[in-house]
């Protein structure tokens, strides 16, 4: 492939006219990601673009927090829970973190069993992953409710800098939306795995390549990315 691109620079092949020529040139033998399918490459590229979106959210949060003259609310106190008279700082957030990490672990194992064509285990592990993801979203809904009851709004809150609410709702809301879509995606793919769509190439979305369980890995890439984003949110928003 490198040879076709480099050895003969003075003699380009005859070209078709107009748009057909442009399309032919772009689609000629120029594959950059040699052993990665288009589906996986596209998921990675989507994840890069998503990284930029979350990067911009965290950046705007940093800018708001660095430029405000009002003290920033202490996240350790804001997200503390009283359990049986015990004051536990950040307890719910810690539980959410462990739940999401566990879902990443089950997802990684689902991918593994998918490539071994162990349909039952793959589908079961994906459903466990989805359940953990749903639990995460549920806890996030509880957290939002608690904060809204305590008077946090996008334009103000009882404890300090008014930008706290805007940053919180924007960042965790966008992340929670990602988790929700991930759960839906997981359930859809788990159902296809369970039914054996990938074994007999049933007609439908992503199922046509017979015996190919790569979609499980692609779903997994998205899911691990959601976990990855939470690692950064946990560090910058809750712990900083």
């Amino acid at each position: 492939m490198a040879e076709t691109a480099l050895t003969n620079p003075e003699e380009p092949p005859a070209r078709m006219a107009g748009w057909q020529g442009i399309a032919a040139d772009w689609s000629s033998d120029q594959r950059a990601f040699k052993n990665v399918s288009w589906g996986k490459a596209m998921m990675w590229i989507f994840l890069v673009s998503d990284t930029f979106i979350f990067g911009c959210f965290l950046l705007s949060y940093m800018t708001a927090r660095m430029s405000t003259t009002v003290p920033w609310p202490n996240a350790s106190e804001v997200f503390a829970l009283e359990i049986a008279g015990q004051h536990m700082p950040l307890l719910l957030i810690a539980i959410m973190t462990f739940v999401l990490i566990s879902s990443s672990g089950t997802m990684a194992m689902a991918v593994n069993f998918g490539y071994r064509r162990d349909r039952a285990r793959t589908a079961a592990l994906m459903l466990v992953t989805a359940a953990l993801g749903a639990a995460f979203v549920g806890m996030q809904a509880f957290e939002w409710t608690k904060l809204i009851m305590e008077g946090v709004r996008p334009w103000g809150n009882p404890w300090g800098a008014p930008q706290f609410g805007a940053s919180f709702f924007m960042i965790t809301g966008f992340h929670g939306t990602h988790v929700t879509f991930g759960v839906i995606f997981l359930v859809i793919v788990a159902r296809k795995v369970w039914r054996g769509d990938f074994d007999h190439a049933r007609r439908g979305f992503f199922t046509s390549r017979k015996g190919n369980y790569e979609i499980v890995e692609i779903t997994g890439l998205y899911w691990h990315f959601v976990d990855l984003v939470w690692v950064f949110i946990f560090a910058f928003f809750y712990l900083w």
Binding site: A32, F33, K34, N35, V36, A41, W44, I45, L47, V48, T51, F52, G55, L59, M62, T63, A64, M66, S67, T68, T69, S76, P89, L90, A94, T97, F98, I101, S102, S104, G105, M107, A108, M109, V111, N112, Y115, R116, R117, Y213, E214, E217, G220, L221, H224, F225, D227, L228, V231, F232, F234, A235, Y238, L239, W240
Partner: protein, 133 residues
Amino acid sequence: MADTAVHVAGKQPPLPLHEHAALASGVAHAEGQQHPIKLYLVVWGWLFVLSAFSYLVDYFGFQGYLRWSLILVFMMLKAGLIVAVFMHMAWERLALAYAILLPPVLVLVFVAIMVFESDYTHLIRVVFFTSPA
């Protein structure tokens, strides 16, 4: 961790070792990403430990540079484990790894720009809004 290193070193030539790794884990079909389950369990365990450590940073109430450096170290270790093992980046070809991992690093330039900008905004706010002139 030794497991990971072995796999990284072993995967550079793409095809023959692929099958070798699959054989080593006792699997008939050499296809896609195939690694021993134990590797995932070890990484899972490490992610739990590192998360517990970062929670303890807050629990013990470390402050200042110690707090920030600990938070960043645990964060980067967790992110590295997830990307390298769970997302299989350690076994992908470098062309893909660089194409995916380098662009987000450039966000740091944006961070630097916004640090200057917010310092400036903060200064202006202090000078014009907080002191009763």
